[in-house]
Amino acid sequence: MKKVGVLSLQGDFAAHGAALERAGAEPVYVRDREQLEGIDGLILPGGESTTMLKLLRYEGLYEAIVEFGRAKPVFGTCAGAILMAKEVTHPAQESLGLMDIAIERNAYGRQIDSRVATLEPAPEFQLRTAPGTMEAVFIRAPIVRHVNGGATVLAEYQGDPVLIEQGRHLMATFHPELTADPRVHALFLEKL
């Protein structure tokens, strides 16, 4: 069984752990750098990206994850996607820069603008996983403003890319860990 790390500093790491189990992988809740050894990939969960950044620094995990991402796949959702982007705005903040995209935080507005949307994923996504629409939960979500270099947009919402694959990495601006649909986690497991 594949072992997948879930960064467990703050946020909905437990929901990702449960989603991995549903998709047939073993979650490892990563709270220290030593735990990065022996895992096949890493998930950066939803939560508050500013809080996670502070804790990454406090715990000496920041460079370790950049290093990990040079060799192995990383998948970020919402705050995790913000951490993965090269450029972050609204406001600008540092990030791990694992994917060459520009992302704007809280771009739909505050919690009152959070929503559940039904997406029609790209044909490639449906071919690689299973056919059908997808429920996507957006919570104080970011919007991807630019995708640079080679990347595959696997789903869009209102014309903006919300599920993107670039090289070995994957990011979603919504929360596939909060719905019963296992396809996004299954796709990430395929990449390991």
Binding site: E48, T51, K54, I112
Partner: protein
Amino acid sequence: MFQFANEFWTVNVGHAEMLKGGVIMDVTNAAQAKIAEDAGASAVMALERVPSDIRKEGGVARMAAISVIEEIQKTVSIPVMAKARIGHFMEARVLEALKVDYIDESEVLTPADEEHHIDKNDFRTPFVCGARNLGEALRRIAEGATMIRTKGEAGSGNIVEAVRHIRTIIKEMKQLTVLGKEELVHESKNLQAPLELVRWVAEHGKLPVPNFSAGGIATPADAALVMQLGAEAVFVGSGIFKSDDPEARAKAIVKAAKNYDNPGKLLEASRDLGAAMPGLDISKLPEAELMQTRGW
């Protein structure tokens, strides 16, 4: 996840999920909110006065001034919550119009209604409510709360009541898991909580919404203690800005929430913080001064 049949339930419980493992800090102005965000707070709670000042100064405690909340919203990028008085659904409507991210229908403020809580199902904005026991928690969830926190005793700097409340809620949930179906009907009556929710808790052994702790947290070890007992995140009220060195203490409590089961790291986080806020012996407080008994 427990499912009420609307999308607000999913996004509002989901928002609470995102706050797990974090620290939500009480702030009374934008400068404090900035200190909280820089320390790693996962959200801030805007209020007029911190609970220890409300306790000292007395009078009616209300929702914070609009200009203060707006200033805080402009200053930080993390979620901004605000408190409304128990039963004061118009304060809550104003906070909703202000687009605060979460409303705390809070016993720390002076109650506006001594029989009814706000019908929270009627709002788009999510609510957190305090509870001392499982029955109270489930009544608040039935009314639409999507996050529960212990009440503790706000502004006391004394963790004893938060410990009592989290232990009580966890114990009462464990007890439900071993009861038979016919016993659950009786328990629903004892708890004064809807049977549907009692059955859900009996099956899952936890609340259908995140379960956080508040009321009396003053040190990193206090935060770690309630998390060891089962709280999934912590609220810190007076504990930060009534201490000697708020920046250092705020950072230390953020580290403690993440390292609650690691005594070595907790020790490192607890060094050189200056004095904690002054504490109160709750057994010496007159009944009328208790905040936790507000709410029905």
